[in-house]
């Protein structure tokens, strides 16, 4: 053990000696590593931010949704001809929901040009009648002070309306809509909530910020319609979706007599598929950013190794002298490896600090004033990014020190000591 401690002592003594003498070189080397670290961290942070923002925008409509448009049968079934329209009704929803309690089910009915009036303003807008379960999975989160409608509103056919953020502004201007009355096709409705702003990249029918949502029972009373435009399913996890769609088809096939294997009855947009694909795309993108960043960092480390090679060459005689005086090989290589490691460590730390500062400053910029950020997102540093960077830095630092050190150890003292 004491031999080991002596090794460490000697290596540290020699390292401190050389580090003290090489300030300028140390600074330049550390700067190049810091640069590499900043590059890799920013690339990954931008990638991560972009990914999160994209996912947020893409999923602003909701996650794990199957939007099912009813159509016509395309197969003969039990003596019935093909080409029959299949039209689910509002009352199918409670039955279907009772059959599959693990899935959230709702129906939607749309009036695309409802007339909205408040004071002297009149605006045409899209009106959706739906079940109360719609709110959360479709991410209709109310601004503070408001709410989405609930089961009582639906049961009692209350005249309550939840408004998209933009249409609320169109109708009410700067006034607070919640609690006020808006006329919808001439009938008075109380505004109970306004949706929080969100950037949404996928829609069916149109962006959520431009529509008004009311209870489906109220919608039926207002328009006298009973047939649903779409039936929507929401599952807790991605994997449950296929089964849920199958059960939904089974139910309607029994109810409206069509072949449950008839693929054409419902036009189905299963968002799980899209989510999976974009997940893969972003994984690929992150790997791409990571590789570019890692290569940049490796260039920095090659720089370190290069400089250390030069140092070994420049100090050949010095190394020979130390060997002649009794330095073991480890005492020659140790300081070089330590030097390579400490350069990368200090450089990496400095780079990390710079990257964190940049990311924090960008994070402090007002997002709503910069349209770009709405889609690009905030650069985000995460623990996996940090861990990956540390791993790359550590390995590169060791290599940057190891190869020059090996060359130093191979020096033949006898050859270097003679006077020339």
């Amino acid at each position: 053990m004491s031999a080991g401690r002596r090794d460490i002592g000697v290596v540290l003594h020699l390292f401190m000696g050389s580090a003290r003498l090489q300030k300028k070189r140390a600074f330049l080397t550390i700067a190049s590593i810091a640069w590499g670290t900043v590059t890799i961290l920013l690339l990954l942070a931008f990638g991560e931010g972009l990914k999160r923002q994209f996912a947020r925008n893409e999923r602003a409509m909701g996650e794990n949704l199957a939007i099912c448009w009813p159509g016509e049968s395309s197969k003969i079934w039990k003596g019935l001809p093909e080409g029959r329209p299949i039209q689910p009704r509002i009352d199918d929803i409670p039955t279907l929901q009772a059959r599959m309690p693990d899935v959230k089910v709702w129906g939607e009915m749309t009036s695309s040009r409802a007339l909205l009036q408040y004071a002297r303003k009149a605006v045409n807008g899209r009106l959706i009648g739906t079940n109360y379960v719609y709110g959360d999975p479709r991410k209709h989160y109310p601004k503070p002070g408001g709410r989405f409608f609930g089961p009582q509103d639906e049961e009692q056919k209350r005249r309550v309306a939840f408004m998209g953020s933009e249409i609320a502004e169109d109708v009410f201007g700067k006034e607070e809509p919640v609690g006020r009355t808006v006329l919808i096709n001439g009938s008075p409705f109380t505004v109970i909530g306004v949706m929080q702003k969100k950037t949404q990249t996928s829609t069916y029918g149109g962006p959520d910020k431009n529509h008004v949502v009311i209870p489906i029972s109220t919608f039926r009373a207002l328009f006298g319609r009973d047939r649903l435009n779409v039936v929507v399913l929401h599952t807790e996890t991605e994997d449950e979706m296929d089964g849920a769609i199958e059960r939904m088809k089974q139910y309607f096939a029994g109810r409206y007599s069509f072949d449950p294997k008839d693929e054409r009855v419902f036009g189905i947009w299963n968002t799980v598929k899209g989510q999976r694909i974009s997940g893969k795309i972003f994984l690929g993108m992150e790997m791409f950013f990571g590789i570019i960043g890692a290569l940049t960092l490796i260039i920095g480390c090659v720089g370190v190794a290069n400089i250390m090679y030069a140092v070994v060459k420049e100090r050949t005689r010095e190394i020979g002298v130390k060997m002649a005086l009794g330095a073991r090989r480890g005492w020659i290589t140790g300081p070089f490896i330590l030097e390579g490691l400490s350069y990368t460590l200090v450089g990496g730390l400095a780079g990390a600090v710079i990257a964190i500062v940049i990311v924090t400053v960008l994070g402090a910029l007002p997002q709503d004033k910069m349209k770009v950020l709405e889609f690009m997102g905030q650069p985000t540093l995460s623990w996996p990014i940090g861990a990956a960077t540390v791993a790359i830095l550590g390995t590169a630092g060791l290599l940057a020190g190891y190869f020059p050190a090996r060359r130093a150890a191979a020096i033949d003292p006898a050859a270097t000591l003679r006077y020339e």
């Binding site: 000697v10 002298v321 005086l325 009794g326 330095a327 073991r328 005492w331 000591l417 003679r418 006077y419």
Partner: protein
Amino acid sequence: MADAGTDAIIEMREIRKVYDTGKIKVEALKGIDLTVARGEFVAIVGPSGSGKSTLMNLIGCLDTPSGGRYRLGGEDVSKLDRDALADVRNRRVGFVFQGFNLLPQISAFENVEMPLVFGGVSVGERRERVRVLLEKVGLGDRMEHKPTELSGGQMQRVAIARALAMGPDVVLADEPTGNLDTSAGGDIMQLFAELWQQGKTLVVITHDMTLARRASRVVEVRDGRIIRDVASEEVA
């Protein structure tokens, strides 16, 4: 070894050294028998290419022989690995070179301290020993000077202090005056003479006959063999 006497520092038997450069093999030493007793002052002389540098590398354990047996201070060192040889150099050999070979960026003090660091000597003892050694070679007032701030003679005296630091069995000097003017060279020769009188064992490789004559014994090497081994009074 009873036959070599108990006080033998260097015992070389049938030492051969072959340099294999791939294409050609050069036999630099062709069977050297050399015994140096404690307290001797041996000058090894010979023309360049005679093999005396190779001999010095082997004596100093900077290299291992291709054949034969070498005992240094009673320890068989002919088959040691590199780290073990490093330890032997540290404890048993003090080197003095023609080109001084001081580390240029550190002070005289730190240069002398270096072998003590390798030898695992504690910081406090290191300080004391270095101070005594530098005073002994007359540089007590130059301890913090860097080699570039010293004259050639002073640098060589730092190197001698460094060679003595670990209390080696033998001080091995390669043309120690070759790079100095006559006056500084004379001082160094004087210093060697004093060390010898204090009982140190010295092996000096030189072609400076003035220095060789100060030795107690002159060994002449030619073509990889010892051709003459006489007391220095007999040198013409």
